[in-house]
Symmetry: C2
């Protein structure tokens, strides 16, 4: 399994992914699920991937190949004029890869491969944008009403994002919120695992603002993880006490 | 979907269930998923059900029928000498009902009906006990290491129980903790809905200690729901701030 979140705030984009892949509990590995391309000062684009690893790696490898072949006619990531076109192109690629593999294996219905991709970024002259691409190749865009996307093991870490999100929050606070959301997920589900990758894209900078791999020995993440338990308990006790006799 | 939790603390058992059933989002209904039988002063047994509603209602109806027929030879709920035997009997009943229905419909593999039941209670002379019964009819028992069971839509509300649970907590606090867990789930998932049913079984009383239906207009639940958002935000801000420059 996987857990990735892409979040849009007024000041930019904050993205986080775990790195665990598993095929059964006795076959776990570390794979990067966050990939960034940039033309400094002009554009930065980050992908977060979940689902069938062979499919998402194929998408990323093809995109990567294209960035390295300057004569390649549809060098999507580096030349597309809009983020919408980037998302659209990645969607086609994902759909095609899944479809080809399924047809080759005669796979249908519920056994189909599945994968989804979060695409985030900003191109000069335009707003930061955040998309969620489905295995069918179509996609949706985040906005004021739904300012974040989660993929993979999304449920454990959702309540805290719903409660903690604020569009005006600082990028540091947004990163902290994602750490708490990931910590809640890590505590409850073995299929999501450290290290985590964090990427912060500050609005109108067109470059990676802050990039970090959070490993087991990361002292800040450890502090969040250990103090969140106490903070939650305090929050819990700050709520009005329940009495069996009230209102009866 | 459904969300039910059974929790064992030193002072007894606390149980909560929602009441929403849905078959698609345009066909939702309210059904009770919590059922209690008692012989005051001697035993109290509560069931929480999740999964295929026709199957769990069958189990409950059969159990109920048997309590009303004094000549019925295996009047499990009211005469079984131990909670283990109660769980075992309910397990057989559940397995049988599911198997019969599947065979009659030629259903196999992943399309099978599924349902699970939490059984909680205490019989005089013995400890309070808590079981989780699987559709296969077998079951597990809660203990010190895993003192609570969740069924249905379990993930959203799990992190707060993991963080907030303490075996020495009062029954009032245990009820409050379940309300927070349900509130987190209700906020994130439409398939879990009010009203909620709460049952508190105080150790060695052998009767329903506190029973309550929490409806939309329940002022305590409203207070929890509205103050939990603020309490969480405060907890979040009490954590050490993240800085992009630390440790770099």
């Amino acid at each position: 399994m996987t857990y990735c979140v892409g979040m849009l705030v007024d000041r930019g984009l904050v993205l986080m992914s775990d790195t665990r892949t598993n095929s059964g509990v006795d076959n776990i590995s570390v794979f990067r699920k966050m990939f960034t391309w940039q033309v400094p000062g002009e554009r930065i684009i980050t992908l977060l991937t979940a689902g069938n690893l062979a499919s998402t790696q194929s998408v990323v490898s093809l995109l990567e190949e294209r960035t390295k072949a300057p004569e390649e006619r549809d060098n999507t990531l580096l030349t597309s004029p809009t983020m919408f076109q980037v998302a659209s192109e990645i969607g086609s690629l994902l759909r095609e890869i899944i479809a080809t593999r399924q047809e080759a294996n005669g796979i249908r219905g519920r056994d189909r491969f599945t994968a989804s991709i979060i695409v985030a970024g900003q191109i000069r002259g335009m707003e930061p944008r955040l998309f969620l691409i489905y295995p069918e190749g179509n996609f949706i865009e985040a906005g004021r009403d739904t300012p974040f996307f989660q993929i993979g093991e999304t449920k454990y870490g959702r309540p805290i994002i719903i409660r903690g999100y604020d569009p005006t929050m600082s990028l540091e606070d947004a990163a902290k919120l994602l750490m708490v959301s990931f910590d809640s997920t890590l505590k409850a589900n073995l299929s999501v695992g450290l290290p985590l990758d964090l990427m912060v894209i500050e609005r109108d900078t067109f470059e990676a603002g802050h990039e970090r791999r959070i490993a087991h020995d990361d002292s800040y993440f450890q502090a969040i993880s250990s103090s969140w338990g106490d903070a939650l308990k305090e929050a819990f006790h700050s709520l009005p006490d329940y009495s069996f006799y009230q209102g009866d």
